[in-house]
Each structure stands twice: as structure tokens, then as C-alpha cells.
Amino acid sequence: MTQFETVYQMYYQGLHRAAQQMLSNKEEAGDVVQEVFVSLYNRMQSHSAEINNVKSWLYRAVMNKCIDAGRSQKNIQSLEGVSVVAEDINIDDNNYQTKILQAALQSLNEKERMMVVLYSQGLSYKEIAETAEVNFTSVGKTLSRSLKKLETLLKHQKHELLG
């Protein structure tokens, strides 16, 4: 197994889950992750600048692509202080928990959402700081605030969707 294949097998699922939580769209998440692996493959083939931390590089690339894709998404409209309504959030999925979580995550701002998603994927504070390009010392504080906000949003979304 080549070095690339090892990296691909090791990180694909985590990256896909992270992209899906950022975008609320399984297919688009798959495309984003595939694009990132293609660019990693090309980079490894061309022996261009060495990547110090492959994991951080992959997550940062996926997060940046998700942010770009998310900005162009038209199906999700964020209303200030109001719950997010996404018309086609996993319409075939009966898992309400997933719907609630996706709607709540979309209510966080990009930075908060990114940090919570990375945290849920088990990245260390150092890796989160590198990926989200934030100060290492502020990770704990931002995370505690974001988790608190997400908890409140989840309760709110649960109330909205389930009545």
C-alpha cells in the first residue's frame, strides 16, 4: 500500500463526516473530499512543497472548500436569531437527530461550526488551531462558547421540528 493509499484510508471517513456536518449535504461532502484527495495526490506526485502535518492539511483544505461551497449554497438561509430552515436536509433520512443537528450547526457562524466539527472529529487543540487558523490559547474558550451555543440551538431546533 502506498503512502497516499494509507492516508486515504485513514482519513477519508473523518473528512467526509466533517464535510457533511459543514454542508448538510452528503453528495456535496463526497465531492469536496474527493477534490481534496485529488489535489493531495497531485501534490505528492509532483513532489512539490512538503506537507508538515497531513492531517491538518487535509482538514484545512476540506474546511476551506466547505466554506466556499456553503457560501454559494442557496437552499440554506440563515436568519439572524431565528432557526435555520433547510428545505432539503436529508429529506429521505428519518433520523430527526441528524436533522436537528444539521440545522443547529448551520446556525453557528463559520468559525464556530468549523471548530466544533473539528473537535468532534477528535482533533487536538493544536490541530484545531492550525486548521481553523486561530490562536492556540483561544481554542478552549471558543470551544466552550460554541458548545454552549450549540446545546441551546439543539434544544431550540428540537422544539421547532418536533413541536
Partner: protein
Amino acid sequence: MNCLDEGIIQSYIDGELSDKEMSDVAMHISSCKHCLAQLKQQEERKNTLLDIMQNANDKVEVPAFNVPVQVVEIPLRRSRVWMKVSAACVFLILLLTTYQSQDKEQKEIFFYPEWQDQVDANLPITQQSFTITYTESSVN
């Protein structure tokens, strides 16, 4: 020691503090009910949210990676013999062209008008008579 802020407690829960900071926080929590309650709340929040987030999405199968098609520039392998033959052909063509152009006779023709009578400037040229003679000479 003052009460701990949420960021420090979060870092403590995640084990992201230095050894000294970890022991300082542990010591404070053992003697502060408020911070202990805060710690428990944040710990519970973390566990609940991570549990939801990690179980929310369906498990994704890792698809086979399709190696991207790359356009590879194949360097042209020019044979030295063919280059020499090509150069010789170009030289021969140039030589033959020069030889042929030298072989053709080039002539120069001169026309001389000779007026029969005196020219009347008031008459149109069609009503006046003159002869044209010409000479031919080789340029080479």
C-alpha cells in the same frame, strides 16, 4: 485563586493544559463548589454533543480512489540522422532554386516614342502621329 473561566475548564476537560496548569486547576476544583459544578456541566455537555455528532451521520464506505488522468508531455525524440538528412534536403532545395534562377535569361525592354511632326499641345494625343521603337537587351 479566583474562579476558573469556561475556557480553562474546557481545556482541563480536554487535557490540553500543561502539567502545572492541570494540577493547579485540579487543586482549585477540589476546594471550589462553583467551579466543580461548572466542570460537571461542561463535561456533560461535551459528552452529549460529541455523542450526537459522532452518531448523527450514516457510516460512509470509503470509495476506491480514482487516480486523476494526467496530461504527460512526451519529449520528442529526434534522431540525429534525420536532422542531418533534413538539413541536407533544405540545402539542396536552396541550391537548386538559386541555380534555376541563374539559368533563366532575363531581358530588359526599352520603349522610345519618336514624334513624326511637331507636337501640338492643343490637339488630343489621338490625333497626333508618332512611332514607338523598342530595344531588347539581356540583363545577365
